[in-house]
Amino acid sequence: MDTEKPFVDIRHAQKSYGSLEVLKDISLKVNRGEIVAIIGPSGSGKSTLLRAINDLDPLTGGEVWLEDVQVNKTLPHRQYEKHINHVRQNIGMVFQHFNLFPHLNVRENITLAPRMLKGLTVDEANTLAEEQLDKVGMLERIDYYPSQLSGGQKQRVAIARALAMKPKVMLFDEATSALDPELVEEVNLVMKKLAEEHMTMIIVTHEMGFAESVCDRVLFMDQGVVVEEGPPSVIFRNPENERTKNFLRKHLASNKE
């Protein structure tokens, strides 16, 4: 692994809404193939940080780099739009509420962007959709509409949709938080599979067990800062910071209920 040149590089990220500071000077470097989990209480800024990586929630200060391209460049409107649309093709994102397009079937959900943005023919796009759906175990539902799928199935299709753009990095924004408990595992399995293929992933999650088993590194965020970061074995087993300990204790307690 090339440790000198980070793949995703967030430098002094700062974000405020009026006087409310959501991100306070956060820096994060993620290497190619690395899997990073971001945990923390709600309102800690973890989703905001994740959404800053593809400029969905633009930072008010600091820089985001993907390889040697600055994502949040300052450009005139039209040029910026062109730039960001291109950059975003390299950054896959999976949302808590799936956000599948309800008017399109599974196949069309996946082929829409590759056909429109990469100029794939219908046949090429269909082959691509079949490959990606096979990977997430949803090939037999290719002609279904989103409303005919369970939450777990929707999320697997959403992952396939993001993968079809052949992204360099995948962002997961609480991908399993909206799922019934019994549907979480099927989505986790897909994410594990991606991990085995060395996809670079940044995962905002409440699933501590999953984070521990899959991630190379864990960040604990609270009130807009990274309180503690390290390998999962340390963060989950021997955290140093009081706030981390507190959070994990509460989280464990609420999970046992």
């Binding site: 975003r88 950054i91 994102m93 962007a113 429109m116």
Partner: protein
Amino acid sequence: MLTVYPYFLKAAWVTIQLSVLTTILGLFCGGLGAAARLSRFVVLRYIGAAYVSFIRGTPALIQLFILYFGGPQIGIQLDAFEAGVIGLGVNIGAYMTETIRGAIISIDKGQIEAARTLGMSRGQSFRKVVLPQAMRLMIRPLGVNINALIKGTALVAAISVVELTYTAQRYIGSTYKPFEMFLISGILYMIIIYITSRAVTWLDNKAKIV
């Protein structure tokens, strides 16, 4: 009495023509109005808002009179039918502006976010993701607008377009039967509206996704 029926059928045909042309113009104005109200540019948003509040804040009859009687004074010469279509079309367009805008803004923001994160532009996201969903949502409320518009065509009797209401009034003089005359025109309106609402229901069902 029987001798007046052909005139009523002819008048119904005029009402249908008025309704169809007004609907087309209304949808056009409504589309433009919604685009203006949702524009990135503040000037366009103001123009859209001014259009909607002027039209909805004044009686349609006054708008028709301004166009038909006041028009010639500022160089706009229209015959009664033209003034009727334009006046009613621009009028219903303001209501359709709000219908269309409402449907568009009701689409979940997550849909746009998903499209944008895949790399689609604002325009592409709108055309391929937002609009197809919004169109399905606006069929029924636009049907309500069209229903109002069909009944609203009665107003153009006041600028002497020979449609259903005008025709009823005209033959009261020779038949002395206002009850029957207005009843006939009412029934004909009802038939037109019934057919239209069935068409809207059919379209709405057809547009259902699954």
